[in-house]
């Protein structure tokens, strides 16, 4: 099953082939039978080595026979003199090499070689490294060989710096060397670690590495490997778990906690503890999206009189007692309906890293170079993606319009992935909307007329009261919309929305307009029944409006809504 190409042959050739196959089959069956016999009689000798060798050189995937050879060698190690054992091991290495030439991708062969090397008294690791070099010259993408190389390096304690130098040599002779870049990515963080960010590289080396990669993709812009490596260099370390928002609502007697990634508050190993004025309260937490075990946003209802309006202020604190120790506090003052404490996406570097002047300057000049390259190679999608990436990393708001232009070009250069790029663009646009909202320090977000094909980062919008989604290409308001716990007014006009499953149990939602969408039946609006404060609903321009008796049906379904507009 290794991709053999079909070759035409004459009748005579076919007959000859058939005879050869029959002979091979007979030999194969006779040999395996002989091996079975000897094994049954516990005869571990040279002859079995011969017989298994004959099978394995043709079919190296016969794992049982590799096992048998190992058994024989163990037997020899007991019975024979060390000198003889040494020569047997050497012969085996030679035999393995011939097997590898026939099939350099056999798991069994490489695995057996590891075993033999581990059992030799004086293994020659340098020679093994040379063997790897040779095989990687034939096929640099042979991951079995790379795996074996790692084994050799580890066993013989080759200094990491030497291996790093090896990758430098490979890359300089042939930039198009995906596996070398990959190997380099595993070595660099060990040789030049960034002490502040685990798994990342120190800045000085990082800047040099940018140069190296730039040279690579300017030499051959069509090779993916350098582009992927560059992307990795530009990337950020993964963030730790944090509580990024604590929200208290006095009227609803409700507390909302938002984590930076999904957690299970109800698991045995971690607890979310609540203190009101230093008094411990153990509420029943529930995820904002009903059935999920893991959720970013968790809610609880407070017992009556917990948040009375008597004292001047009350201190609310949550403590996450899991693997990480996290907490968040806020104070709610007398007369105030609500209070919160939220980390901004900007401060938390959620969308991009803060950069030193050196890094910023260098990346700026690299952006200019990439733009020039893009003019020479207009069809190159990697170049376009990298330009977009650099603009997002340097100044997402400043480069907003230019980024959109480059996305247009990207969808032409790589039309096959148009829908994916639309989604990616939506994501970047929403990031910018959030940044703008934070900058203005308001709780109103305007995402209208931005060609959005999907919604994301809704867990960053927990405090939003007014949202404008009109004039986009959304087809649904999905369950992730349930995080919009403070939402009061929603404008989702002029989309293609058929499904509003996320518009349920939103306790503050009062006004919704869904004009010119694709709502088909009253059942589609069922989720709204649980939005108890909903008083205004505009459905003009939806197919559902043309159904007979629709107004009375909707009044029955949504009794809390005082005004339902259908035309």
């Amino acid at each position: 099953m290794h991709g053999r190409i079909k070759v035409k042959s004459t009748e005579e050739q076919k007959e000859q082939k058939a005879k050869e196959r029959a002979k091979k089959l007979q030999f194969y069956q006779a040999t395996t039978a002989a091996i079975s016999e000897k094994r049954k009689d516990h005869q571990f000798d040279q002859e079995v080595l011969e017989l298994t060798g004959q099978i394995l050189s043709v079919n190296p995937d016969y794992a049982t026979y590799w096992n048998l050879r190992r058994q024989i060698f163990l037997h020899f190690e007991h019975e024979k003199e060390p000198e003889e054992v040494k020569s047997i091991h050497q012969k085996e290495l030679f035999f393995l090499e011939t097997c590898l030439r026939v099939n350099p991708k056999s798991y069994g062969t490489w695995h057996h070689r590891c075993w033999v090397m581990d059992h030799m008294q004086e293994p020659d690791w340098k020679r093994e490294l040379e063997l790897c070099n040779k095989f990687l010259e034939y096929d640099e993408r042979n991951f079995h060989c790379w795996d074996y190389r790692r084994f050799v390096v580890q066993r013989s304690a080759v200094p990491v710096e030497e291996e790093l130098a090896y990758t430098s040599r490979l890359i300089s002779t042939n930039f198009s060397n995906y596996s070398s870049w990959h190997y380099r990515s595993t070595l660099l963080p060990i040789v030049h670690p960034d002490h502040k960010r685990q798994g990342r590289i120190s800045e000085k080396i990082l800047l040099k590495e940018y140069e190296l990669v730039q040279n690579a993709f300017f030499t051959d812009p069509n090779d993916q490997s350098a582009w992927f490596y560059y992307r990795w260099l530009l990337g950020r370390a993964d963030s730790l778990l944090k509580i990024n928002c604590l929200y208290v609502n006095r009227d609803q007697r409700r507390i909302l906690v938002c984590f930076s990634r999904p957690v299970n508050v109800l698991s045995k190993s971690s607890k979310l503890i609540l203190f009101v004025d230093q008094k411990l309260i153990l509420p029943e937490w529930r995820p904002v999206a009903g059935q999920k075990t893991y959720s970013c946003v968790w809610l609880c209802d407070l017992p009556e009189c917990t948040l009375d309006n008597g004292s001047l202020h009350q201190d609310i604190k949550v403590v996450w007692d899991g693997d990480d120790d996290l907490q968040k506090e806020c104070t709610i003052y007398k007369g105030k309906r609500e209070s919160w404490c939220r980390d901004s996406a900007t401060a938390e570097e959620l969308f991009r890293c803060q950069m030193s002047v050196e890094k910023s300057t260098q990346l700026q000049s690299e952006l200019e170079s990439c733009k020039q390259l893009q003019e020479l190679e207009p069809d190159n999608k990697w170049c376009l993606l990298t330009v977009i990436l650099l603009m997002r990393a340097l100044d997402p708001l400043g480069y907003e319009n230019e980024t959109l232009q480059y996305f247009k070009a990207l969808k032409v250069a790589d039309a096959m992935r148009t829908r994916y790029y639309n989604d990616l663009c939506s994501k970047f646009v929403i990031e910018n909307c959030i940044l703008k909202m934070e900058y203005a320090e308001v709780r109103v977000i305007d995402m209208s007329h931005k060609n959005l094909t999907r919604l994301c980062y809704l867990d960053q919008m927990v405090l939003v009261t007014h949202m404008n989604l009109s004039g986009n290409q959304l087809t649904c308001l999905p369950p992730s919309f349930l995080t919009m716990q403070c939402l009061e007014v929603l404008n989702a006009d002029d989309n293609s929305i058929e499904n509003v499953s996320g518009l349920s149990n939103l306790p503050q939602l009062e006004e919704v307009t869904l004009r010119n969408n694709c709502i088909q039946t009253p059942a589609d609006l069922q989720p709204l029944a649980s939005c108890l404060k909903l008083s205004f609903l505009d459905l003009k321009g939806n197919p559902v409006c043309n159904l007979p008796n629709i107004h009375s049906e909707l009044t029955l379904l949504l009794p809390q809504v005082k005004e339902i507009i259908l035309q």
Partner: protein
Amino acid sequence: MKERRGWIGMRNLAAIFSTLCLLLCMHCIKRLTIAFFALAGLDMLDALDKVDRANIIEWIYSLQVLPCEDKSNLSRCGFRGSSHVGVQYNPFKSPATPHLYDSGHIAMTYTGLASLVILGDDLSRVNGEGCMAGLRALQLEDGSFYAVPEGSENDMRFVYCAACICYMLDDWSGMDIDKAVSYIRRSMSYDSGLGQGADLESHGGSTFCAIATLCLMNRLEEVFSETELNRIRRWCIMRQQSGFHGRPGKPVDTCYSFWVGGTLKLLNIFQYTEFEKNRNYILSTQDRLVGGFAKWPESHPDVLHAYFGICGLSLIGEPGIREVHPALNMSLRAFEYLQSLHEKWKHQNSKFSDPVTNCT
């Protein structure tokens, strides 16, 4: 030029069926995996009525490595690939005489169980205790699995096999889930694909194995953050060239239409792929004479690529092919049958002890 759907079906039927009759000598140690591809393929084409189910079920059970009377070989139990070791034919659940060189092989246990499910067997003759013990004996400290108790290579393929075995038997005591999860996390590469293990190059096959394993464990969103999942999505969606390849810089290959396509389906963005180009590539690898798919056009077809070609077409909704369950790698019909078995076991459990783990 569009192929007529009936033509695809019948030609592939012929190819797969004839393979069942001519199980290749060279692959005898993994004969059971070949049977799996053939049976699963026939199921996807709604053509299992063409095989002698009862006989094949007997044969599969004969490959079970059962515990002996004193259970001294418990950690070597499971299913073997074929009768090549020379153990006496025994399709019954009765205790066996242990053979020195006989043991289960993780991929055979997986495909053996999957084949039984596809054939509609109720798994009542499966020795659950043996399978679980055999599985536990194969897991390493780093969370990955060997294929056989004597040792072998260890990588993501066998992690996936282990997860499928536990899932099908509805018993996760066969593995340390947390260790396996940690192995998966550590196999993520700098480009956000997943390799066969830590520090290894990202690969479409191992990425599927990792993601499907997490889905079977129902832990996908717990183990990877949304950011990480987005990066994995990006790596996967870039694998489409016409059909799909398994790694950057490599040629496209029919089976990746399932490995990568299935992963994209599990990550909810398969709908963003280009269906027409994918379909045309898969069909271009079809053999005009005997049917079946090959990895490349003008190459010899084989049962593995035939099966994955069919699954690749199923993902894009090709008429005449059943829906596939990407995580468990079988038809949705077979998956739903398995669900009904699990329901039955739960119900019986509330009254008696689990029949799957009884020895007699």
